[in-house]
């Protein structure tokens, strides 16, 4: 469209300007990506090869780096926890967060979108404010609360505590996102159900809920990924290695293995990233919508 309208300009100036333009684009948008691309390439290549040249050119193909899948990881005398229970912990955390976030924010988002009540506007502003408020400075106080509830150092109960905290921190944003999906459903549809004699609850369950399923899908994926990669809460609140999640295990292993076995670290990293890769390649549009709509650093 734009191109067609452009004047058929001849002359050196235009050509030079065009060259400058693309040069600028390359310097600014492409060159800084070289580290990012090489990091991804390294992760993929290194995990399947023994020695690598410059970190990205493989020399031999091996599955030795993936040995953590079937045998315990050892470093000198220290034996790291087996990968599968740790993966299960991570999954437990991620699914717990997802379930709680979806349940709570769907209810809340519906009320914010569809119901009249006193203080509705104020509540929405408050949620936006929370969304902007940096939650990680509350970690110390949350630690005290966790201790006070007797959830510290209690194995799976500690993870439950972390689920509650994490879900609570995600809820303002998730509610906001799902509210947007509710807003997009025409009022008439709900009216029609109500006129036909549905109770509000029944209208919600049979008419509205199916229509916001994409929204529910979006916040499910979103909160699953954020629970899956949660680091700080587990790092801070879980002492017992048996209840580590993958990010914390990887954290502790980087320092030990970085001098001798980048291959295993890369394989472990790739193993951990699988869900992220799957979700982003299958539902990129949905996630972009969230990343554009509701943003949190």
């Amino acid at each position: 469209m734009r191109k067609k309208l452009k004047m058929p300009s001849i002359g050196g100036k235009t050509i030079i300007l065009n060259v400058v333009k693309y040069l600028l684009a390359i310097i600014i948008a492409v060159i800084p990506l070289i580290p990012v691309w090489s990091m991804l390439l390294w992760l993929a290549v290194q995990s399947f090869s023994g020695r690598v040249i410059l970190g990205i050119i493989p020399s031999e193909v091996t599955f030795k780096n993936w040995r953590f899948l079937w045998s315990p990881i050892k470093m000198g005398l220290k034996e790291y926890p087996n990968i599968w229970p740790v993966t299960l912990n991570t999954l437990f955390l991620a699914l717990g967060v997802t379930g709680l976030v979806v349940f709570v924010s769907t209810l809340g988002g519906y009320a914010l979108s569809r119901m009249e009540f006193k203080g509705r506007m104020e509540l929405m502003q408050f949620i936006i404010a929370l969304h902007a408020f940096p939650s990680i400075i509350l970690l110390i106080a949350l630690f005290v609360i966790l201790n006070n509830l007797g959830l510290y150092g209690k194995g799976y109960m500690t993870l439950v505590g972390i689920i509650l905290i994490k879900a609570g921190l995600e809820i303002p944003m998730a509610t906001w996102i799902i509210k947007g999906f509710f807003d997009a459903i025409p009022w008439d549809l709900e009216w029609a159900a109500l006129v036909d004699g549905c109770t509000r609850w029944k209208a919600w369950r049979t008419v509205i809920l199916p229509l916001v399923l994409p929204g529910i899908g979006a916040i499910s994926i979103f909160s699953f990924l954020s629970g899956w990669s949660e680091f700080l809460l587990v790092f801070t609140y879980v002492e017992d290695e048996a209840y580590y999640t993958l990010p914390v295990l990887i954290y502790h292993m980087i320092g030990e293995f970085k001098f001798i076995d980048w291959g295993m670290l890369a394989a472990l990293g790739l193993f951990f990233t699988i869900p992220t890769i799957i979700f982003f390649s299958t539902s990129q549009k949905l996630l972009l919508r969230i990343y554009v709509g509701g943003i949190k650093r």
Binding site: R2, A29, W42, F117, I137, A141, S229, L246, I254, R297
Partner: protein, 327 residues
């Protein structure tokens, strides 16, 4: 009558779980931070405090704030300096670099596929799980196995200028801290800006093209002025989150240094204010929860003040739709 009450109650039934979670995860900890900031809570009296929030073993005191404001803790000044360097540098990457980047990606590059590829690539630092981001950076900067020093040598940087360890030698470690967070921040800026650029009505740009304006003139005189609000939004949002963000620093320096993040971050001079607060509570031997809360409390206050200011500047609507263009 009964029906009326239930109609009034209904929204609150729907909202109750959300409100409970918000009280649990946000309001209670904020209030507790305020209280803890005025106490001498540490590992010594922590157990008593857990049993009873008003135990006599925990004293109310102003000492924490004396330590902060009257420089009784000499490290506070250094943490403040590092935080200032950190916030200002990353913020300029966010606001200015990301703006030029977005114009390049969304306007200069006309090919849809190339543009999309670049956008997705620039999103990667943001969507990658934090610990993996820390892992790949740890590899990238590794002097022996990593690619960074090789690339820099290739680009013509003399070997004498390259540090032995990017993680530990101060000016380099600080550069690394800025770059690592800069990528994530540039991602964020790019998302907002490209969405805004894409929503500029094409007639405006076409009109300028017909009048013979070059792409640079269009970028300078049409796109940039229209991005005023998104820019202001990115800057204010990022200021707030940068002031308190320490997760990447903790993960990269902690994991790279073998787990003891507090000592490493201090030696590498990347101990920002929020990380300092965190390390006082969880890494220091005495676990100074009270003092750490006081340090956090200052950030909480700054955060609340900034948020109120933003509501004043932007109004509610603009805060919700950052990439909307008003022509």
């Amino acid at each position: 009558m009964a029906l009326k009450i239930s109609r009034k109650m209904l929204p609150w039934i729907f909202l109750a779980p959300m409100l409970m979670m918000i009280i649990f995860s946000w309001i209670a900890p904020v209030l507790l931070t305020v209280y803890l900031g005025f106490t001498d809570l540490s590992s010594k009296n922590f157990l008593d405090f857990i049993r009873n929030f008003f135990t006599e073993n925990v004293h109310l005191t102003l000492e924490n704030f004396e330590k902060i404001f009257f420089a009784k803790d000499p490290y506070v000044v250094e943490a403040l300096t590092i935080t200032a360097i950190y916030v200002v540098s990353v913020l300029s990457i966010n606001a200015i670099f990301a703006l030029v980047l977005s114009i390049a990606i969304a306007y200069f590059v006309r090919n849809e596929i190339v543009s999309m590829l670049l956008r997705v690539s620039w999103l990667i630092p943001r969507i990658m799980p934090g610990i993996i981001y820390a892992l790949v950076w740890n590899w990238f900067i590794d002097p022996k196995y990593g690619l960074l020093n090789t690339l820099l040598k290739f680009a013509g940087v003399p070997e004498a200028l390259l540090p032995e360890s990017w993680l530990l030698s101060p000016p380099y470690s600080q550069i690394l801290m800025i770059v690592v967070n800069g990528y994530v921040g540039a991602s964020f800026g790019m998302i907002i800006y490209t969405a805004a650029i894409k929503s500029i009505p094409t007639d405006i740009i076409n009109a300028a093209l017909v009048d013979g304006a070059s792409d640079f003139q269009i970028a300078r005189h049409i796109i940039v002025p229209l991005l005023k609000w998104p820019m202001l939004f990115v800057i204010s949002w990022q200021t707030l989150s940068l002031l308190s963000s320490y997760e990447y620093i903790l993960m990269i320096w902690g994991s790279g240094g073998g787990g003891g993040y507090a000592g490493i971050a201090r030696a590498a001079k990347v101990m920002v204010w929020s990380l300092y607060s965190y390390s006082k509570a969880f890494a220091a031997e005495e676990h100074l929860y009270g003092y750490a809360s006081a340090l956090s409390l200052i950030l909480v206050i700054v955060g609340v003040v900034l948020i109120i200011t933003y509501f004043k500047i932007f109004g509610f609507r603009r805060l919700m739709e950052p990439s909307r263009i008003e022509v």
